[in-house]
């Protein structure tokens, strides 16, 4: 007798439902490992992690707003999900592509159970996606400058996207035996996502059908004003995944009552979630947006530091110290009356159109300056310009570019009161294709080339020397009638002659 000779074996015990489940789990384990180690998944994971861990970044990254960070986790998950969709599809089609259909057809575990295993096999990859989201969000939340609150529903949206796309890959593999279909579906998903996003005028329920609810507004909003149907969207994605899984199992012969019941329940949940997404935002959220936009003082916390009062939406109060640092710097550069002038820094938003809104808040009342809901880097320069303008000009209404001493003074103060102010000012100019503009909250502070040249000449001088001159001539420099030539003279530089291009601007 040899190794191949049949040894008498006892008759196998009749199979039970538990045996079937054990086979499904055993197969799911094998498929899960193969899915996680699929080159496409590994490459997308590596690319995704490289993007997250890439050193550098913007200065604003040190001051994350967590109700935006949670949404920002979703796009990377969408890309990972597309890779998993294709890999899962190839896993389902493996037997067909490699010609093992014939021999596998007579094996004990039925095709529908194999499909169940493929569906379950995506869960570890979903877990990896969830761990990345958790890591990404935790790293942001632990930054000293972090403010706001993340939403669990927004955070689970990314992993649910991976689940949905992977299960769609399984479903496609069971419906169409071609490995070209999943990549085409991936393109379709991307197209659908961006078409829905591009057309922000679409009804809410229609936008809710997109895999990711993109909202790219001008500035972050307090979390209570977002009004995003994140919970219903998460339910929509989950129910759609379950529906696709039930469809895949049914397509491979699993026509049990449990599969039918699951499919019907999931279908009901999908419909309910779509309808309920369309009802957002609630009336309470609309009202809160209205109040926050028109009368923010009603919902803000204020704190007084010397002659300055800082009023912020409660989630943003940790930034008051940062605002105070910049404000105090502007005041110390201004000296004299500028240093003592009473001022209220008020955080403002335009929340009327929700997180997609791009409108600016209305100009602050006299004696107030506006702080935005973003901080760090250029935002710091913009805030410094807002404070300097408040001290020099006294209002935020836009009446044209500053063609006089006030513009020179405001911009010099803003740059000198900001960390890396010169570099940021240069960068701001590049960004707006107009070198003399600082996008201060509400309205920009803009200079003509002539005033800009004076500022550049001032920046070339020692800060203390210019500072002494500013403090000595504050009243004249901040007066509406003082010309640019006079400002240059007072501050120890010369102003270039006014050009024809300069004369084309409307001056404030």
């Amino acid at each position: 007798m040899t190794a191949l000779t049949r040894t008498p074996v006892t008759a196998p015990a009749p199979p039970s439902a538990r045996d079937g489940l054990r086979a499904v789990l055993a197969l799911a384990r094998v498929e899960a490992r193969r899915l996680l180690l699929h080159p496409l998944v590994l490459v997308s994971l590596a690319g995704y992690l490289a993007l997250l861990l890439w050193p550098g970044g913007e200065p604003e990254d040190a001051y994350p707003v967590l109700q935006d960070v949670d949404r920002e986790t979703q796009f990377g998950q969408l890309l990972l999900g597309l890779a998993v969709m294709i890999a899962a599809n190839l896993g389902v089609l493996r037997s067909h592509r490699r010609g093992t259909d014939g021999s596998f057809a007579v094996l004990v575990v039925q095709p529908w159970r194999r499909t169940c295993a493929h569906v379950l096999s995506v869960l570890p990859t979903v877990l990896v996606g969830a761990l990345i989201v958790a890591g990404q969000f935790t790293a942001e939340a632990l930054k000293p400058g972090a403010v706001g609150h993340g939403s669990v529903f927004e955070l689970v949206t990314g992993p649910l996207l991976i689940l949905l796309l992977a299960v769609l890959g399984v479903l496609l593999g069971r419906l169409i035996r071609s490995s070209f279909v999943a990549p085409l579906a991936a393109v379709a998903v991307i197209a659908a996502a961006f078409v829905f996003v591009a057309d922000s005028s679409s009804p809410a329920w229609l936008r809710g059908l997109a895999p990711v609810l993109f909202d790219e507004g001008a500035r972050p909003l307090p979390s209570g004003l977002l009004g995003r149907p994140a919970g219903w969207h998460a339910l929509y994605l989950l129910a759609l995944a379950v529906l696709a899984a039930a469809g895949a199992v049914r397509a491979s012969g699993g026509r049990t009552r449990a599969v039918r019941a699951t499919a019907l329940t999931a279908l009901g949940a999908v419909v309910a979630a779509v309808v309920l997404q369309g009802t957002a935002p609630s009336d309470a959220v609309r009202e809160a947006r209205e109040v926050a936009t028109r009368d923010p003082a009603e919902v803000q916390d204020c704190v007084r530091r010397g002659p300055t009062t800082y009023c912020a939406f409660p989630e943003f109060t940790p930034w008051v110290d940062e605002w105070a640092r910049v404000t105090d710097r502007v005041r110390s550069l201004a000296g004299g009356p500028g240093a003592e002038q009473a001022l209220t820094v008020r955080q403002k938003v335009n929340a009327l159109d929700g997180p997609s809104g791009t409108g600016e808040p209305s100009p602050a009342a006299p004696g107030e300056v506006t702080a935005s809901t973003a901080w760090g880097g250029e935002r710091e320069l913009e805030f410094a310009a807002s404070v300097a303008r408040g001290l020099v000009v006294g209002h935020e209404r836009y009446a044209g570019v500053f063609c006089d001493a006030r513009g020179v003074l405001t911009v010099w103060l803003a740059i000198r009161a900001t960390r890396d102010g010169e570099a940021l000012f240069e960068k701001t100019g590049e960004g707006y294709n107009s070198p003399g503009v600082i996008q201060a909250p509400v309205t920009a502070v803009a200079l003509r080339d002539r005033e800009l040249t004076v500022v550049e000449r001032l920046l070339a001088l020692p800060r203390e020397r210019v500072g002494r001159a500013v403090r000595a001539h504050w009243a004249e420099l901040s007066a509406a009638g003082t010309t640019t030539d006079r400002a240059a003279t007072l501050l120890g530089v010369t102003a270039p002659a006014e050009t024809a291009a300069d004369r084309e601007w409307m001056c404030a």
Partner: protein, 288 residues
């Protein structure tokens, strides 16, 4: 008489109006049974029916007491059979071990430790112990075929269906494979479809000849050889009455058919019997 392990009665299956399998009745017993027949004879279709891959239009069969016509019976039958199709296919990026382990899962071997032990056992048995960690795409054709045999042997099936397993193998590999099939036939029922009468002569205790979907012969290899008793002769020239004839290395013709008076009869072989068992139809494709 030995008790049959696989019984089939009146199996019929038609494809587009053609009867691929036509009223086939079989009783297989332990040991290796050869299934001979020309291309298109219906061998593969019959094997697919017996392996439960295809459902017959008519007829019934049992595998080790299980009736595959019911869902439960089909599952039970699948638990006791191993099937190596003509083109088994492989997952090239799996190692030999991973592939056999995967098949073992699909054969419902769920305990990880005993499943791995079983995968190692069958790979050892087919002589692939040294390469079980190697990716299948890096194995030779003969090794791949042995991986497929190992996969068919997972779970120690009582009924093994092998569809032309030696096609494409070089003589040495074919010899090695014959050893494996002979070993596999000890204690289990093996149905071996082949074009090679040598395989049948060396391995089988019984042979079935099929043509045009029907069984033309069912008996021992000696009985098949005996069909040609007195019907094989030598001549110096090609004989018009011969159903097949070819010039041998000695320069003489060897003829199979109805010999003329006074012909120099020679000992028949299994192949002669096979040619004659195919009936009155031309067999020109094997004649030289």
């Amino acid at each position: 008489m030995t008790r049959p392990t696989v019984s089939a009665a009146g199996l019929t299956l038609s494809y587009r109006g053609t009867r691929a399998v036509d009223e086939v009745t079989l009783r297989l017993t332990e040991g290796v049974t050869g299934l001979l027949g020309p291309n298109g004879a219906g061998k593969t279709t019959l094997l697919r029916i017996l392996a439960t891959a295809t459902v017959p239009d008519n007829g019934a069969f049992t595998v080790l007491g299980h009736d595959p016509s019911t869902a439960t019976g089909r599952q039970d039958a699948r638990r006791v059979l191993g099937y190596l199709p003509q083109n088994p296919g492989f997952h090239p990026d799996f190692t030999a071990f991973e592939f056999v382990d995967y098949v073992a899962i699909l054969k419902d071997l769920t305990d990880r430790r005993s499943r791995h032990a079983e995968a190692r056992r069958v790979l050892d048995a087919v002589g692939l112990a040294d390469v079980r960690g190697k990716r299948i795409r890096k194995l030779s054709g003969g090794m791949k075929q042995r991986v497929a045999l190992a996969a068919a042997l997972v779970g120690d099936p009582g009924f093994l269906v092998l569809d032309e397993p030696t096609v494409g193998l070089d003589p040495e590999q074919r010899m090695r494979f014959r050893e494996l099939i002979a070993e596999a036939g000890e204690g289990r029922t093996v149905l071996l479809s082949t074009h090679q009468t040598e395989d049948v002569a060396m391995l089988c205790h019984r042979v079935v000849v099929m043509d045009k979907g029907r069984v033309r012969f069912d008996g021992t290899p000696a009985e098949l050889t005996a069909v040609a008793d007195g019907r094989v002769w030598r001549s110096t020239e090609r004989q018009p009455g011969a159903r097949a004839g070819w010039r041998t290395g000695t320069g003489e013709f060897r003829n199979v058919g109805d010999p003329p008076e006074g012909a120099r009869l020679v000992e028949p072989t299994l192949e002669d019997g096979y040619l004659l068992a195919l009936g009155g139809d031309p067999v020109a494709e094997v004649a030289v």
